[in-house]
C-alpha cells in the first residue's frame, strides 16, 4: 500500500509502469486517473486539503479496500495546491489476481476519496473563483458498498 499526498505533478505513465512492474504475480491491474478538464473556461484549479487528516483518511479507505477484496496492492496519489488544465489531479491503482476485485476496489477507493478524504476543489476562471459543490450522487455512490 502506497499513499502519496503531494503538491508536485506526478508522471502517470511512470507511476503506472512502476506499479505494474511491482505486481507481476497478480494478473490484473486497474488504474483511475482524474484530470483537470481542459474545457476552455477554467484558468486553473486549486485544491485545499487538511494535512494530517488527509493521509489518515486515505489510509483508512485503502485499508478497508484491502479487507474487502482480494488485492495484491493499492496505490493512491493525490495532489493539492494549484494545478493547470490537463494536469492529473490524482490516481488510484489496484493489483489483484482477478479483474473483478481490481475493478471493484478501484471504484470503491474513488467513491470514498471523493466524499471522505478532506480535499476541496476551487475552480479559478477569468471572472473569479468558485468552490466546487459536492454532488448528491457522490454521497449516494457510497451506499452501494
Amino acid at each position: 500500500m502506497r499513499i502519496v499526498v503531494q503538491e508536485a505533478p506526478f508522471d502517470l505513465g511512470a507511476e503506472t509502469s512502476r506499479f505494474a512492474e511491482g505486481h507481476k504475480d497478480q494478473g490484473a491491474i486497474v488504474t483511475f486517473t482524474g484530470l483537470v478538464r481542459e474545457d476552455g473556461g477554467m484558468a486553473r484549479m486549486e485544491i485545499e486539503h487538511y494535512p494530517g487528516m488527509t493521509e489518515r483518511a486515505i489510509t483508512k479507505i485503502a485499508e478497508e479496500a484491502v479487507t474487502r477484496w482480494s488485492l495484491g496492492d493499492t496505490l493512491v496519489i493525490h495532489r493539492f495546491g494549484p494545478m493547470q488544465p490537463g494536469e492529473a489531479i490524482m490516481m488510484v491503482a489496484t493489483a489483484a489476481p482477478h479483474r473483478k476485485d481490481a475493478f471493484e476496489a478501484a471504484e470503491f477507493l474513488m467513491d470514498y476519496l471523493k466524499s471522505r478524504a478532506p480535499f476541496w476543489k476551487k475552480e479559478i476562471g477569468p471572472d473569479g473563483s468558485d468552490w466546487v459543490a459536492a454532488k448528491d450522487e457522490d454521497e449516494d455512490a457510497l451506499d452501494r458498498w
Binding site: 482524474g34 485545499e48 483518511a57 490524482m90 471522505r116 468552490w131 466546487v132 459543490a133 459536492a134
Partner: protein, 81 residues
Amino acid sequence: MDILYFAWVRERIGLPKEKVETGARNVTELVEELKAREPRYAAAFEDISALRVALDQELSDFDASLEGVREVAFFPPMTGG
C-alpha cells in the same frame, strides 16, 4: 482547543486556525458559542447541514462529545478525487 477552518468556511471566517477556550460539551454547543461571537461566524455556521466536522482528524457528528478532543475542524463536504 484548536479550531481549524477549510475552504469557504475558512474564507468566511477569515482565518485558517485559532485557539479557543470553551466550556462546550458537544460540537453543537461549540457552534452556538462561535456564532454568538461575530457576524462572520454566524454567516459561516448559518446552515449546519452544509457543513462537516472532524474531531482530532476523524470525521464526526455535530452531537459528538468534545471531551478530550484537542482539534476540531469545520469544512464543507469534501470534493476530492
